[in-house]
Symmetry: C2
Subunit: 189 residues, 2 copies
C-alpha cells in the first residue's frame, strides 16, 4: 500500500477495494529541486499528495516572500481556493527537494463521488479539519511570542529544522531569519 492509500484508508475509513479505485485516479509526478508544482495566478486544477520530499507554499507580498506552509510526506500540496472554486492560484508551490507526488486532476477528483458515495461527507470533514488547524495557528499568533511559536514548531517537528532552509521556517513562523537564529542559539545554549 502506498502512503496515499494508507492515508485514505486510515483517515477516511475506506475499504481496500475502494481505496484502490480512488488511488487509480492519481498518477505519480516527480519534481526536481526548485521545480514549481504551482504558480500564483495559474490554473490550480490539480491536487498533490506528498509521497516523498519537501515543498514550500509561499506568496510574494510587498516585495518579499512569505512562506505559508512547508509540506512534507503525508501532506497535501494544493491551492484550496483555486482547486475548489476554480480561481487563479493564490500560492506558489515549489519543491525544496526532489519530490514524488500522487497527483489528481480536478475532473477526476470530481468523480471520486461515483466511486465513494459518502465522499462529499468525508471531503467536508477533511476541509473542516484543515480549518481547525488554521484556527489554532491564528490563536497562536494572537497569544504567543516569536519565541513561543518557535518552540511550538520545534517540539512538533524538530526534524524540519535540519531539512528546510531556516529562512523559510522563520517566515512561516512570522519572524525574521535573524530572530530565528537568535532564538535557536538561546534554546541550545
Amino acid at each position: 500500500m502506498t502512503e496515499l492509500e494508507n492515508y485514505i484508508h486510515t483517515n477516511f475509513g475506506v475499504t481496500k477495494e475502494d481505496v484502490a479505485k480512488i488511488s487509480s485516479l492519481f498518477r505519480v509526478v516527480t519534481l526536481k529541486k526548485g521545480d514549481f508544482f504551482l504558480k500564483t495566478g495559474h490554473h490550480a486544477d490539480r491536487l498533490g499528495f506528498v509521497q516523498m520530499g519537501i515543498l514550500r507554499e509561499f506568496v510574494h507580498i510587498d516585495n518579499k516572500e512569505v512562506t505559508k506552509w512547508i509540506s512534507t510526506k503525508g501532506y497535501f500540496a494544493v491551492d484550496l481556493s483555486g482547486f475548489i472554486f476554480q480561481l487563479p492560484a493564490r500560492w506558489n508551490i515549489q519543491a525544496l527537494t526532489e519530490c514524488e507526488l500522487y497527483v489528481i486532476d480536478r475532473k477526476d477528483y470530481q468523480n471520486i463521488g461515483q466511486v465513494l458515495p459518502r465522499w462529499p461527507e468525508l471531503e467536508k470533514l477533511f476541509i473542516a479539519k484543515c480549518f481547525t488547524v488554521l484556527e489554532d495557528r491564528i490563536i497562536q499568533h494572537l497569544s504567543k511570542s516569536a519565541e513561543e511559536r518557535y518552540h511550538q514548531l520545534f517540539n512538533f517537528n524538530a526534524a524540519l529544522f535540519n531539512q528546510v532552509p531556516l529562512q523559510y521556517l522563520a517566515s512561516m513562523l512570522g519572524m525574521t531569519p535573524e530572530t530565528l537564529s537568535r532564538l535557536r542559539k538561546k534554546a541550545s545554549g
Copy 2:
C-alpha cells in the same frame, strides 16, 4: 424574507421553497448582553446565524482572554470543530449586546441533506470559503505590522470600532489595548 433566508438564497442559490424548508429547521434564540451562547468544554451541538447583535468568540490562554473573532449580523456563531466532530467546544461565544440568533441543532442540521440533495456540496464550499478567509488572516500575521493590521480591519469595517470594546478588537488583531489606542490616535491625528 429573514436575513438568514436571504443568506441561504443568495449564497447557496437555493430556491425560495427549499429556503423555507431549511429555515423552518431553525428557531429564534435571543440573548441578553453578557449571555453565553457557548462555553469552552461544553457540547457544541448547535449553530447560530446572527440576525441581530454582536457576539465575541474567545478563549482563555495563559490567564488571559484571546478574542478570536467578533460576529455581527450575517455571520455564524458556531464552534466548528465541536459542531462537526462532536467534540467539546474550544471557544466561548458571548453576546456583547442583546442578540437575536437563528439556531439549529445538530440533529436537525444533519437532516438538511434530505431537503436539499446538493447540501453536502454546498456545505463543503461554505467551509472551504471559511478556510480561505483564515488563510488570509494567517498571511496577514506573517507579513503585516500591528499598524497595518489595524488599518486593514478599520478599512474593512470601521463601524466595529464604535460598537465593540476596543480591548477585544485589540486582542483579535494581536496587539495590546494600549497599542491599539496609540494607533488610533496616530491615524486620527
